[in-house]
Amino acid sequence: MITITIEDRNGEKQAIEVPTDVNLSLMEVLKASDYPILATCGGIALCATCHVQVLEGYDELPPAGNEEMDMLDTLPDAAFDSRLACQLRISEEMNGMIFRICGE
C-alpha cells in the first residue's frame, strides 16, 4: 500500500491509499475513486483527458514516452510538470506524491 494525495479541480486535497500489486494506472485509480476524469480513450495516450500535474515527485517518475509527449503537446494548459495519468503505473516510488487533476 502507498499513499498519494490528489488535488481535485476545486483545489481540495485528499490522501488516498492504493495497493501497488494490482498493476493499475493512476487514471484507473482516479476513476475508481470517483474523480470526474473522462479518460475517453481508455488509457492509450490518445485523448489527453486524464491530464494531471505532479505537484510533488515529478522527477522521480519514469519519463514520459513519445506518445505521451505527443498528447501533452496538444494540451494548451500543459505545464512543465504535466503528465497523463493513464501512462503512470502505480508503484512504490509514488508513495507521498501529490497530483493535481487538470482539464475539464
Partner: protein, 334 residues
C-alpha cells in the same frame, strides 16, 4: 432547403450504420457533421488503431471500419453536409423538424436522430485570460485563408504537425512569425521540425521554446501576446494574430440547448426505442445514457436498429411494419 426522412446529427460509426437500418425500412437520411470527414472518433482520434470487438472482424483498423460502413450504406444514397455544426433544432407545427447549421444550411426532416458521440470536435483553446474576447479580432483557431496573414505579425502556439506546417508556410507570407512551444523538441514530422529550427537559426522566424502563453491584450483588436518560460519571467511580443493550434477535442456544444434531458453531458433515452423526452427526436451511440449504458460501437449499432423501428411509426403512422431479414429480401437500393 434539403428534404429528407431522417436527419442524423453526427457522422460517426453509429450515425453511419443508422443509415443502413433506416434504408431497410425505405427511409432516406441526411447526415451533418462538424468534421470535414466522416467517421467521428474513429477517423479523428484513432484511425490506425485496430479494434477487436466488432463482431465478425477479429481485428479491423478504425479507418477501415469507417470505409466499410460507407460501402455498406452506399446503396441507400445518404447525403452529407460536412464541416458544419448543427446549431438549431426547431419543431414544426406538423411534427417535423427544421435543422439549421453554423453555415446556414437548412434540413427539413420528419425525424431527427442525434448520433453526436462525445459532442462536436472543436479546437482546444488555451486557458488564457482575455482570449475569448479577441476571437475573430486577432485570435484564430485555424488557418482558413493564409493570405489573410500577409504582412502581419503572427504568433502561433503548439508543438504538433499543424503548428510546424503553418509556421513554415506563413514564414513566407507574414511580416513576422513567432512560434511558442511548451517543450524544447518537436515530435511532429522530423523534416518539418528540422525546417523550423533552420528558419529560426537563419532569423526568418522567432522560436520561443519551453514557454506557455499567459495572456493576450489590445484595445479592440489583438495587439500583444505574453508568455512565460520555466524561469517564470513574463515576456510580451506585438502581434496582429495569435493562432493556437492544439488539435481538436469533443465538446457537447449546441446539443445542450435543445430542451433535451441531459445527464452528465449525455442525453437520457428510453431503451425501448432510444427516444428522447421530445417526440420525434432520438439519440443513439455515445451521446445517450441509460441504466447500464456502455460506450461501444457495437451497442450503438444495436441502438440504431431498434430506433428506426420507432422512427418509422413516427414518419408513417398509418403503415404497418413487418420485420424482414436481409437474407430474405436483400438490400434494395434506392
Amino acid at each position: 432547403m434539403i428534404q429528407t426522412d431522417i436527419c442524423i446529427i453526427g457522422a460517426g460509426p453509429v450515425g453511419l450504420f443508422a443509415v443502413f437500418e433506416a434504408g431497410l425500412l425505405k427511409m432516406r437520411c441526411h447526415l451533418i457533421d462538424t468534421l470535414p470527414q466522416v467517421g467521428g472518433q474513429l477517423s479523428e482520434i484513432y484511425p490506425h488503431k485496430p479494434i477487436y470487438d466488432i463482431p465478425g472482424y477479429p481485428d479491423i483498423k478504425a479507418q477501415e471500419l469507417v470505409d466499410r460502413l460507407m460501402e455498406q450504406i452506399a446503396p441507400f444514397k445518404p447525403q452529407f453536409t460536412l464541416g458544419e455544426r448543427v446549431e438549431t433544432l426547431a419543431k414544426q407545427d406538423d411534427g417535423s423538424y427544421l435543422v439549421g447549421t453554423s453555415d446556414g444550411t437548412l434540413v427539413h426532416a420528419s425525424v431527427v436522430v442525434i448520433a453526436g458521440g462525445l459532442g462536436c470536435f472543436e479546437p482546444r483553446k488555451p486557458d488564457v485570460e482575455g482570449l475569448s474576447q479577441f476571437e475573430g479580432k486577432g485570435v484564430e483557431y485555424m488557418v482558413k485563408n493564409p493570405e489573410h496573414f500577409r504582412a502581419k505579425k503572427v504568433v502561433l502556439a503548439g508543438g504538433g504537425d499543424s503548428a510546424l506546417d503553418w509556421t513554415i508556410f506563413l514564414s513566407n507570407v507574414a511580416e513576422r512569425v513567432t512560434l511558442i512551444h511548451r517543450g524544447d523538441t518537436f515530435r511532429g514530422a522530423p523534416d518539418s521540425a528540422e525546417k523550423v529550427f533552420e528558419l529560426a537559426r537563419d532569423g526568418a522566424i522567432d522560436l520561443i521554446l519551453q514557454s506557455n502563453l499567459v495572456d493576450v491584450s489590445g484595445a479592440d483588436q489583438l495587439e500583444e501576446v505574453s508568455f512565460m518560460g520555466r524561469d517564470k519571467v513574463k515576456n510580451s511580443i506585438k502581434a496582429d494574430y495569435l493562432i493556437p493550434l492544439f488539435g481538436l477535442s469533443p465538446k457537447l456544444g449546441p446539443i445542450a440547448n435543445w430542451g433535451l434531458n441531459i445527464d452528465k453531458s449525455a442525453i437520457e433515452v428510453d431503451t425501448f426505442d432510444y427516444s428522447t423526452n421530445i417526440e420525434g427526436i432520438y439519440a443513439i451511440g455515445d451521446i445517450n445514457t441509460y441504466p447500464g449504458k456502455l460506450k461501444l460501437i457495437l451497442c450503438g449499432f444495436h441502438e440504431g436498429a431498434l430506433m428506426v423501428q420507432s422512427a418509422f411509426k413516427y414518419v408513417y403512422p398509418d403503415q404497418k411494419l413487418s420485420f424482414k431479414y436481409t437474407t430474405v429480401y436483400g438490400v434494395n437500393a434506392f
